[in-house]
Symmetry: C2
Subunit: 460 residues, 2 copies
């Protein structure tokens, strides 16, 4: 067998112990918050039938789905003409019937439809699993990454929207973030705006353009609106809406007068008001809305999909894109034949949250997750004592290791250091006979004498 110089597949990552501790901290924190609000975990398979995924993410999305080659003699059934023409695209369904999960939403929809007789609605689930996309890898963009989604289907109540805001708040506060904003918008407000301008058919063009306000400014947005079929007169109508300022209450008041003649627009406003009311009652904090929530009618994300409230979260402490987002959709499961099931959900960007916590130095000093004590191995003769001690400490459920061979002290200390083990125990003949063991604190360098029971007290 020829030796292969190993490398990672493009766009993928290994996670070493220190990274796993931090990633698990993020996932465990999110899961604890999700459970607290009544959400239960599910998992779906890593690959689905190709027909389950195709056509759900647009043409561009379809190209980014990783297809799995059929096993065995997969070319047998492939039409000769497609092979001759080297028609890569049309050949796919003949040689591939499975594909890797592209997001957690479509598999969740499939799950709900297939399990509709077992689940009681409303169904509240969270899902934390990797997804795969054949994107060109770049800084911060990987071909394998985790999504953390939390959704409820089968409930129209806006209490759900309010609770998602509180889930965001609680999760990000548990992470130690101090300054973040949850942007909120409503698809119905956007529909109302397109309606009063008299161009309801251009709603997607309108929102795609004004969504870019942050990046390209008002002039850029106007230029794009003109290109997309709006007139100068439309721009004059849109300008005060796009540049809407003030508190959430002031914005709502302005929108009410702007959208006075649009019934869908007023519905959108009423929904936002109800969500705000729920948030205040639920939190008992009359300042919360002002502090963390920002009504932003330029927020559009995934408009083809969302039908009610739309959310997005940004931190103000680090320059970083959104660290979460979501909204309400009214037809999640229609693609699989189960109509009129409304849902709402949000997701957390785990990789970006990781980078934020790293930059702000917010990860807990989590050495306790690993070995707490290394017993130095001076001499095989001493093992009768050290093995017994190992047993006693493990009986107390303390994570402890005996270095497995009596190699040089420097090497053993280097092992403890490399692994971030906080304490090292030095046991020689003298220590065994006196019962006074030498315990070294690896951080301070301090060394003290302890008895076995003092040692157990200290480590427990």
């Amino acid at each position: 067998m020829a030796t292969v110089k190993p490398s990672l597949a493009k766009g993928t990552r290994d996670f070493s112990p220190s990274e796993m501790i931090k990633r698990n901290y993020i996932f465990d924190t999110l899961k604890a918050v999700f459970k607290k609000y009544g959400y239960n975990e599910i998992q779906t398979p890593s690959f689905e039938n190709l027909t389950t995924l195709t056509g759900k993410y647009g043409d561009e999305g379809d190209k980014l789905i990783f297809k799995i080659l059929n096993s065995g003699d997969y070319l047998t059934k492939a039409p000769d003409s497609l092979l001759q023409d080297k028609n890569s695209n049309k050949l796919i369904p003949h040689i591939s019937e499975k594909a890797l999960r592209y997001d957690l939403t479509v598999p969740f929809a499939r799950y709900v439809v297939m399990h509709q007789n077992d689940i009681s609605l409303p169904f509240k689930r969270f899902q934390v699993q990797p997804v795969w996309r054949a994107d060109r890898p770049q800084r911060g963009r990987y071909r394998e990454f985790y999504q953390c989604d939390v959704d409820v289907v089968g409930s129209e109540s806006l209490l759900n929207e309010a609770e998602f805001i509180l889930i965001y708040q609680e999760a990000f506060e548990r992470f130690g973030l101090k300054d973040f904003n949850i942007k909120i918008n409503n698809r119905k407000i956007l529909s109302g705006i397109a309606e009063i301008i008299g161009k309801p058919e251009l709603i997607v063009d309108m929102t795609v353009a004004i969504d870019k306000l942050d990046k390209i400014g008002l002039d850029g947005v106007n230029k794009e609106l003109l290109e997309r079929g709006f007139t100068e007169a439309d721009l004059n109508l849109l300008k005060p809406i796009i540049l809407l300022e003030g508190s959430n209450g002031e914005k709502l008041a302005s929108l009410k007068s702007i959208l006075a003649n649009s019934s869908i627009g007023l519905t959108g406003i009423a929904e936002i008001e109800e969500v705000f009311d729920y948030i205040t009652k639920l939190s008992g904090d009359t300042e919360l809305l002002t502090r963390i929530i920002d009504l932003d009618i330029t927020l559009a994300r995934g408009l083809n999909y969302y039908t009610g409230c739309i959310f997005e979260v940004k931190t103000n402490e680090v320059a970083m894109g959104s660290i979460g987002g979501g909204g309400r959709y009214d037809d999640l499961t229609g693609m699989f034949g189960l109509k009129d099931l409304t849902g709402v959900g949000v997701s957390f960007g785990a990789d970006r949250i990781y980078d934020v916590l790293e930059e702000l130095n917010l990860f807990p000093a989590n050495k306790a997750d690993s070995t707490k004590l290394l017993i130095i191995n001076f001499d095989k003769q001493l093992e009768t004592y050290t093995l017994g001690l190992l047993n006693k400490l493990r009986k107390e459920n303390i994570a402890v290791e005996l270095y497995a061979a009596p190699v040089k002290l420097k090497k053993q200390m280097g092992y403890a250091d490399g692994k971030g083990i906080p304490y090292v125990l030095l046991v020689g003949d003298e220590e065994v006979s006196s019962g006074q063991l030498s315990l070294k604190d690896m951080e301070s360098g301090e060394q003290v004498k302890v008895t076995e029971s003092e040692l157990i007290q200290k480590l427990r």
Copy 2:
């Protein structure tokens, strides 16, 4: 978009909330034990370069690896002749450069080689991740399943072998198993046996045959040995070895005399003795060897691979294949150019453990993992009170839900029941004004009056 009637890809499974709780219980228990013995978690990507995996699992294994089709115009570089001949096998490397993880061992070897400058040896890692195999699905065999591996590389000490036995013991005892056996053998003993028979070159044939003793009996084994090149005289020599009986100590004594002229055989025996000695000292339990360990020289598993001790675990409480296994290997990373790195490790069969715990009814009644209390929603007017109560309970970190709409009581109770929520709170006008809330225990059906603070006490 045409409606697709959804189905799962063959050989894959969804995991619903109740299954996730049980699966997480298994994974969390194993991880806690691994950490206690100084092992740290790593993860590797779901797909690897195809060249990393090909040739590591034999020809049959190569066929069972799921290959990922290249993205874009993947046929461009495919040789015309292979397409014309429909040569599925030879075309693979031209249209696929990535493949799904087939086990955790080869990716771990790649990890160690790629990270050799960052890790301090001995490196103790565990890894709990799914793997994928294009096997024909059947009862208990899936195309996606989790492996739970724990290994140390870079340490020759037999203390590691002994600690793996204790890891098995502690994990299975935590699961509540009362009667299980850890079989142990040593490749060097098998080499010694082949040596004294004078057919060292037939060691693999010999062990493949005697490994089947349980299934086909002595006559079957003898028949197979004859077919594989052994003589009647060899069978006479082998018979007392294959049928070796008695305690571990008696077996070791017999083997010592049988293998007196084989230096490698005696080394194998000495290794087993040292492991046994470590186990007794480490556990402080002189009966442990007799109780759970069984020296079994017919145990062979993965002989091409293991070079020292070999382990396998069976439960005696349920008819089930092995629920764990492992051993020492002396050249894990050689395939990637890093020579002479010895390692030893074991793995746990999570799916089989799941079935065993289910059959023995050993899963903890883990309803606490989910919502503890559902507050019934009688009336939107009462929400001012119930939302405030929700907030108070969540501030105490209690998992609680308010049913999101004032639908019929029966539906709300059905929701609590379906989700396994242990308590339901009934709050009407009378309860609000008296401060005496009605709390129903869903299991016993009992209903009591409680104040808010009594409620918090009860749920905390």
